[in-house]
């Protein structure tokens, strides 16, 4: 076993931008975090804050006109005999064979829309077999046995029949399970699940989350769970990263972030979770204002136009940095660390 | 926050701009489409001023000038600007029996601007005999033949100007007819739905699945010989529009279906507006830009239909002049090889078809920036 303290994936100051005709969209603007084997990292934030783009950046599949402009993504790969070695994914070419041998095999992705994340004109089995045979030397027969096995592992009833089914013949929940089976086909050590439950009803949501948890217990993989639902984070994550407009604004162990949240944005996210204790029929607090468009992000702290604690003259002139405020707890907000002296 | 709610000037303009205004702004961005629009406008200028741009009566035949090749204009005479052409004499080659023409550099015919020529009515009501260019006081044989003459000795340039008028207006009339039918039937189909919709949809499907040229040929062949040019002209537009409406009707129906669900239509319905009022005051204006785009895109097909029919000898017949009628003289390869300049009337057909296509494409993008 390798050292538990060493992360399997570390992302450092990742910046990914889209160079569109209308302007540059800084979808991810300096995100840093780490993922550990056997643990779940939750990434949370409003729609459009760059969660999916972060996931795509890690896999090296950011679509045109986007690309990673800065930062490092380091993956710890096993080299056999218990050793391991860090590979900088950002320095591999997106379509290099090494990158392709990592995609799907070491890092797998469950994308956010179960309805359209599988090809509508290929059977489930065909797609799983295709993925499995990319990285493993399997005969068609073996691959199809593996597919059946995976489908029953993710709880699809009558898996032998299901491999001949087309995606549109399955319900949303079953489709999401099939997608997870596909992601597991090469036994990845890191599973990125991008909003795996958003499109599903509450009961199915809970089942899928249970499934992910039990899979993690069985094979000890790391999970990066992307969601905009604080409730899901509370239930699933060990570590939490809160993103706002492409930046990490707060980061730490789940209990710390929930118990002693520091950043005004995290606090307002937490206030908007319905709880058993809230009075029925009273409107939940919402965060005022709307997310600014990423083309023209505000100067200074990106949250300042909506922040209830904004300090005029400070927050709109200086950019706060992610700094420690306690054990493994990082926050980017001038309420907790000093304002730089000079202003230019 | 203050900055959040202040709106820049340009944004404010967008809020108050009407749909057509928005469409125009987006259209301007398509360079090719804008250029194409200028081309189309230029063509319609020719339509308006065809007789002014011609210089010889397009139907005058001249037995001594059969199939004469284009005659180049020379702009300078002994260093001074004096546009002229050389007079030409023709005789029959006794071996090949073809007429051969010889230019006489000593007999210069001066080409004048705003020269007097045959009489006509400019824009249909101003009596005049002025033409953009011409050789004044020329005999029929010693005159200007910019693009040569056809097999009856008629001046190709002058005929092409008049043909442009015919061919382009046929396209417009046919599209207008199609538009009326298309908006009416497509609108009924989309607005009422149900059985009427199914019937109209099946009708469209059937009409679209029958090859057009044979059908048009069959109908056009039945136009009585004794019909006048005008009667045939309108009969052809009707025959073309008979199928032309189907595409527009589909477009309109599609828009109706998506609009029917929209709030402002429901609001108008609840406010007690009559159906007719809802359709004409609310729904049609909200997708007129799409209709304009679709109609523009369907014009070239109509122009081509007339050209093809006339080319086959089933559409307009002489003395009417259209591009198709002119092309009729190049039915076989011998004709083309002997007098390739007769192919020149293919040029406007191709240019105007492309121009309408590019313009329509730009309009469609401008009307529907998110559509495919």
């Amino acid at each position: 076993m390798q050292d538990d303290r060493q992360p399997i994936l570390s992302v450092r100051n990742l910046k990914t931008s889209f160079f569109t005709d209308e302007g540059i969209v800084r979808a991810v603007d300096g995100a840093s975090f780490e993922v550990h084997l056997g643990q779940t990292l939750g990434i949370v934030g409003e729609s459009g804050c760059g969660k999916s783009v972060t996931a795509l950046s890690i896999l090296g599949i950011v679509p045109r006109p986007g690309r990673i402009v800065e930062g490092e993504i380091l993956l710890r790969r096993e080299t056999g005999n218990g050793q391991s070695q860090e590979v900088a994914l950002t320095s591999l070419g997106d379509s290099s064979s090494e990158m392709r041998s990592i995609r799907g095999a070491e890092i797998a992705l469950v994308f956010q829309e179960p309805m359209t994340s599988l090809s509508p004109v290929h059977t489930i089995g065909n797609q799983i077999i295709g993925a499995a045979r990319l990285h493993r030397k399997l005969t068609k027969q073996e691959a199809s046995e593996l597919a059946v096995e995976l489908l029953s592992l993710v709880g699809i009833p009558r898996a032998e029949g299901a491999i001949d089914a087309y995606p549109f013949q399955l319900s949303g929940g079953l489709r999401q399970r099939a997608l997870i089976a596909l992601a597991l086909s090469c036994d990845p050590r890191l599973l990125i699940a991008d909003e795996p439950t958003t499109a599903l009803d509450v009961t199915t949501q809970a089942q899928i989350l249970d499934l992910l948890r039990s899979l993690q217990e069985q094979n000890g993989m790391a999970i990066m769970l992307i969601t905009h639902d604080m409730g899901v984070i509370a239930e699933m994550a060990d570590q939490v990263v809160v993103m706002y407009l492409g930046r990490v604004v707060e980061e730490g162990p789940v209990d710390t972030v929930f118990g002693e949240s520091k950043h005004p944005y995290t606090q307002s996210l937490l206030r908007s979770i319905p709880s058993i204790h809230s009075t029925p029929k009273v409107q939940l607090p919402t965060i005022t204002g709307t997310i600014p468009h990423p083309y023209n992000r505000p100067a200074g702290c990106p949250f300042h136009p909506r922040c209830p604690d904004v300090m005029p003259g400070v927050c709109d002139h200086h950019e706060p940095e992610l700094q420690s405020v306690g054990d493994e707890h990082l926050v980017s907000c001038f309420l907790y660390h000093p304002v730089p002296e000079t202003s230019s | 926050m203050a900055e959040e709610h202040t709106i820049s000037d340009s944004e404010e303009r967008i809020f108050v701009a009407g749909q057509m205004q928005l469409m125009w702004w987006r259209f301007r961005k398509h360079r090719v489409a804008v250029v194409a629009t200028f081309v189309v406008v230029a063509f319609y200028v020719v339509v308006l001023a065809a007789d002014f741009l011609a210089y010889t009566d397009p139907n005058t035949t001249e037995a001594y000038r059969l199939l004469m090749p284009p005659q180049p204009i020379r702009f300078f005479d002994n260093g001074s600007f004096r546009p002229h052409v050389y007079a030409v004499s023709g005789k029959r080659d006794l071996r090949t029996f073809k007429r051969v023409y010889e230019a006489d550099p000593n007999n210069k015919l001066t080409v004048r601007f705003f020269a007097r020529g045959y009489k006509y009515k400019l824009f249909g009501f101003i009596r005049t005999d002025r033409h953009l260019i011409g050789v004044e006081g020329a005999t029929a044989a010693e005159s200007l033949f910019l693009l040569g003459t056809d097999e009856k000795g008629r001046d190709v340039w002058s005929r092409m100007m008049v043909a442009t008028r015919t061919s382009l207006t046929i396209g417009l009339v046919a599209v207008a007819l199609s538009l009326v039918l298309g908006v009416l039937l497509g609108g009924i189909s989309g607005f009422y739905g149900g059985a009427i919709d199914s019937i109209i949809q099946r009708l469209i499907e059937i009409l679209r699945s029958i090859p057009t040229i044979p059908l048009w040929m069959g109908m056009a062949a039945a136009f009585p010989r004794e019909w006048s040019v005008e009667q045939i002209y309108f009969a052809i537009t009707i025959v073309i529009a008979l199928r032309g409406w189907t595409g527009l009707a589909r477009e309109v129906r599609g828009r109706f279906l998506s609009l029917r669900e929209e709030d402002f239509v429901t609001a108008a319905d609840l406010a007690g507006c009559s159906r007719k009022r809802i359709i004409f005051r609310h729904m049609i204006p909200s997708f007129q830009s799409h209709i304009i785009a679709a109609a523009t895109l369907s014009i070239p097909a109509m122009i081509l239909a007339e050209t093809a029919l006339s080319y086959l000898g089933l559409g307009l017949r002489p003395p009417a002049i259209s591009w198709g009628v002119m092309l009729q003289q190049v039915q076989n390869v011998e004709a083309v090889a002997l007098s390739p300049w007769l192919l020149v009337s293919a040029v406007p057909v191709i240019v105007v078809t492309l121009a309408f296509n590019f313009m329509g494409d730009g309009l469609r993008d401008a009307a529907d920036p998110y559509g495919i």
């Binding site: 679509p63 004109v121 | 699945s209 083309v336 078809t353």
Partner: protein, 330 residues
Amino acid sequence: MLAYAARRLVLAIFTLWTVTVLSFIIIQLPPGDFVDAYMAQLSATQSNVSEQHFESLRRQYALDRPMYVQYLKWMSGVFSGDFGTSMMWRKSVLDVIGDRLAMTMVLSLGAIILTWAIALPIGIYSAVRQYSIGDYVFTFIGFIGLGVPSFLLALVLMYLGFTLFDSDIGGLFSPEYQLEPWSWGKVKDLLYHLPLPAIIIGLSGTAELIRVMRANLLDELRKPYVITARAAGMSERSLVLKYPVRVALNPFASTVGYLLPYILSGSVIVSVVLGLPTLGPLLLGSLVAQDMFLAGTIVMMLGALTVIGTFLSDLLLMWIDPRIRFEMVQ
């Protein structure tokens, strides 16, 4: 699946019926009945024409009865293989048509196959390399293809062939095979002459199909399942070919339905220009001579070809698209 096929079949039969009605209308359109025209033509050439002969003809085609009876009479003839008599040729319509129907089918099929073979790879290339130089070049050529009417293209190519290569590009056979009975040599000769007219006829359709394929594929390339496949580590090339191209093929297959009317239309007029031995020149000749049974039959055959072709392409679509096979899409 059966319901889909049945629906298509009913529509096809209905369209076929409409085609027969339209063809019949075309036969009836010229003023006077056809025996009048026949009589006029005969008496111009021959002096002794028997009144009885015309009377029997009138009875044969029920010309003295109401229109619908005439239609039924004609249709029952059609069903028993009797399409009427050609006045111009004094032969039965079927004899006049001979193998021209087959030639039309060969030419149209050739045009469709070429259209597909050209449009598919170019469409894929243009979508995958969107906004590349190649994409712009193909888009431009596509526009020209849409803009230039096929018969003009045929004329221009014929002129170029004549002046540059001094060869006649018209016809489907070399002169030595023209009147020969069918043989291997003749088939080879046909295959040698076929591509050029097929391309001319298919050009505007090709341009349209490239646009369709490019747009479909661009749409598909943005779909999440592409991200799934990419994230699984597939190489871009095999991924594009396996998934999005396959999905985009479905609407592509259904384009045969609207391609066919264009191609058959185009074949008529291009055949006239290039002098191909298909139905086109025969149709023109019969219309000019008001030989209406021949003309009506040809219009009907061309219509029937489209309807049948469209129906077959619907079945093809059903076969390749599982969503239709399982009746998810109507």
